[in-house]
Subunit: 194 residues, 2 copies
């Protein structure tokens, strides 16, 4: 059955990037092994350990649509309309960019709930992946997330951009996770309790 | 070989207690199973799942001394001089309590480095366990911690008392953990990289 999940890489003290948006300390696991996992963008592939490869392949194969925020869209130039996950992107934004036609596979929607709904329609039987932390938090508070996957990196950054901040409807309780130990990250898959 | 470690129960968003020092959402795993693990204080025992029991027994059997801060000491009345872990306690404090003689197995020491050193002497061949988050943080920054164990609870509290705040010497990098999946907590044992 189609599900809505979010996958983020996080430090042990809860940061998804350093204060300058840097991910050097966090994204090492994407290149820490000798198994090549191709992405949908042929310019990019992952070189991970066998366990992480299994996890990544599942993520890549299952995604039918991806939801992100405007900031991530702008930072990546909308992945040139070809997100590595290989699925159409739904951008949550109050105002679509003037040149929206440059991203024909990308949809611009105002509101997190609307974004998830639109992504579900696009994904059909496949899954919806939420790629921005602030969208993930809001979707959690709205009860729209089925699963939370965290690639937990064994580092304390001390400061940076927190994953879970400003939750308005906590506590959120999850089932015990499925754990996949990768090289440089512990992948934790949680199912959200209703 | 003797090692210095810290074991704390933490929410997925990094809190070790709610804003009012409450641990109801976090300490459920200590009573979530049907295996009884006795503590050194016969008034207390743990009822955990088999995996958590194995982890707890190792923690209890290995500890030769425990280091804590003054706040935890005061909150617990110094565990009536009989900490459940079954080891002498070293309290880091600027001023020993007036009635220090009431706690004959407890040592009062000024300074985190001094506290760990004193605990090492007391522990001998056994391990030193750090029981207070603020002492653990300072000991990490001083390079005095060998292993960090976190019992990660599948809940987002949204706010509370953070485990890792005010680190002065981050990033701290760890090896990939040994993972023990318990009922209500994922026990993650990290070795600190030097």
């Amino acid at each position: 059955m189609s599900k809505v999940y979010t996958h983020m890489t996080m430090s042990l003290d809860g940061y998804i990037a350093d204060p300058g948006d840097g991910t050097d300390e966090l994204f090492g696991w994407y290149g820490a092994g000798d198994v090549t996992v191709p992405s949908a963008d042929e310019r990019w592939s992952f070189q991970v350990d066998a366990n992480s490869a299994e996890m990544l392949r599942e993520v890549l194969a299952g995604a039918g649509a991806l939801v992100c925020g405007r900031r991530l869209f702008d930072l990546t130039n909308g992945w040139d309309d070809n997100h590595p996950i290989g699925a159409p992107v739904v951008v949550v934004t109050h105002r679509a960019p003037d040149a929206a036609a440059k991203w024909p596979r990308t949809t611009f929607v105002d509101g997190v709930a609307e974004g998830v709904t639109r992504a579900r329609e696009i994904a059909g039987d496949r899954h919806v992946s939420i790629a921005s932390a602030d969208i993930a938090r809001q979707a959690l508070d709205l009860g729209l997330v089925d699963e939370v996957c965290i690639s937990l990196v064994p580092v304390l950054l001390g400061n940076g951009i927190p994953y879970f901040a400003d939750l308005t409807d906590a506590p959120h309780r999850f089932d015990d996770p499925t754990v996949i130990q990768g090289k440089g990250a512990t992948h934790l898959w949680y199912r959200v309790r209703r």
